[in-house]
Symmetry: none
Subunit: 235 residues, 2 copies
């Protein structure tokens, strides 16, 4: 078993490909280096390159055609399963650019529904952030989040255009469990404007509650435009 800092070779190959997709050197439809090419360039065995490409194909990142080659998959319009995965990776894995707009970032007193849902006593302080994640400039997710200060004391100090809230939380404390609730709704005007939705358009809301050390670490309301986002899961 390789230690974390020197990842397995097949993971290095996967990252080699994924980074080129994220960086735009490999746009959708582009031909990916063949297995033998990877063998030469990365000095690995063909089986290792094969495993990397095969797994990326299984994830839908690549498309392989026997006898022809391996190509970057055309943009999948849908998301991956309901795993705890951040939207930035999801967008980048489609080869698109991810950008964030920070609408609000502050500490707020816990009160009313938010306090009740967070499980903290009313009056205590919560961190609050409201971000808009865009794919190629188009808003794809509004992330409204309340964070338990005990789970990430330096939450407000981060630059959210560089790291996502989820990454910060994961780094601060291991997340044990996540509860998801998925609903369809026609959002209030505030959310609608941020997502640039029409008046009658529906949104998909994923409310994600993450737990760390037995306490609620964060509650995130993730709004997505119903017309441009869908969740997929395979059992």
């Amino acid at each position: 078993m390789q230690p974390q800092d020197s990842a397995a070779r097949y993971l290095q190959v996967k990252h080699f490909i994924l980074e080129q997709i994220a960086g735009g050197e490999l746009p959708p439809g582009a031909r990916v280096p063949s297995e033998n090419e990877l063998v030469r360039r990365l000095t690995v065995a063909r089986m290792t390159a094969n495993r990397a490409l095969r797994e990326l194909a299984a994830d839908g990142v690549l498309v392989r055609v026997a006898g022809v080659g391996t190509f970057v998959a055309e943009q999948r319009v849908h998301a991956h399963p309901l795993e705890v995965r951040n939207i930035a990776d999801e967008i980048r894995s489609r080869g698109h650019t991810h950008s964030v707009r920070v609408v609000a970032l502050q500490s707020v007193p816990a009160r009313g529904a938010a306090a009740e849902r967070s499980g903290v006593r009313p009056g205590s302080t919560l961190f609050y952030s409201l971000l808009v994640h865009c794919e190629d400039g188009e808003p794809l997710q509004v992330e409204e989040r309340h964070v338990n200060p005990q789970a990430a004391p330096d939450y407000l100090q981060h630059d959210f255009t560089r790291t996502t809230p989820h990454e910060i939380l994961v780094r601060a404390a291991p997340l044990q469990r996540a509860e998801h609730t998925v609903r369809a709704l026609v959002p209030e005007a505030r959310i609608r404007r941020l997502l640039r939705l029409g008046a009658g358009e529906a949104a998909l809301l994923i409310r994600r509650r993450t737990y760390s050390k037995g306490r609620i670490a964060s509650i995130a309301d993730l709004y997505h435009p119903g017309s441009r986002y869908e969740l997929t899961a395979t059992i």
Copy 2:
């Protein structure tokens, strides 16, 4: 490339395991033959056995622990994050009464989008059902379903007020896999009326594709009122 009728060895190994799970010889939690055991019993290379077990683990069928062994995962199909439970069970488990109204039940020619999604050739026959599931008389789900006749030849003969389509399909043929797609939308008038939704209300659409014997067995579009239904998942 092996021809279809003599599957690849690693697929044979996967089937060898899957059949023992399906047959009950390997209940959840049971220890699966180790890689070396499979090498001896099935006369394959260890890499081949390794790939089979690794893929089954990636699918969540097995759980592997380095240094210990490989085991059948606990409750597979019924505990997946996005498991969409039988709506009848779900309603009854809340202590409410479940009732069904059969709006349509017929065989239809496969054409257009439905044919394409089903993977059957245009012109062949599909079974079609349109049901409304109610909780205490209130519509909670519109179930629009296309069924592959090969998966359940006697589909149209059943009394859907007593058994649900899903139960019939499970009984007719073991379901291998299900794909779910979740979307939010403001439904067309036809669905809106069946759900007794207001003009601007959102609906949660779950499209469920089930596979049996490698073929699509059924495609179901499940519409739910956004205001009264939500999907929950724990990871």
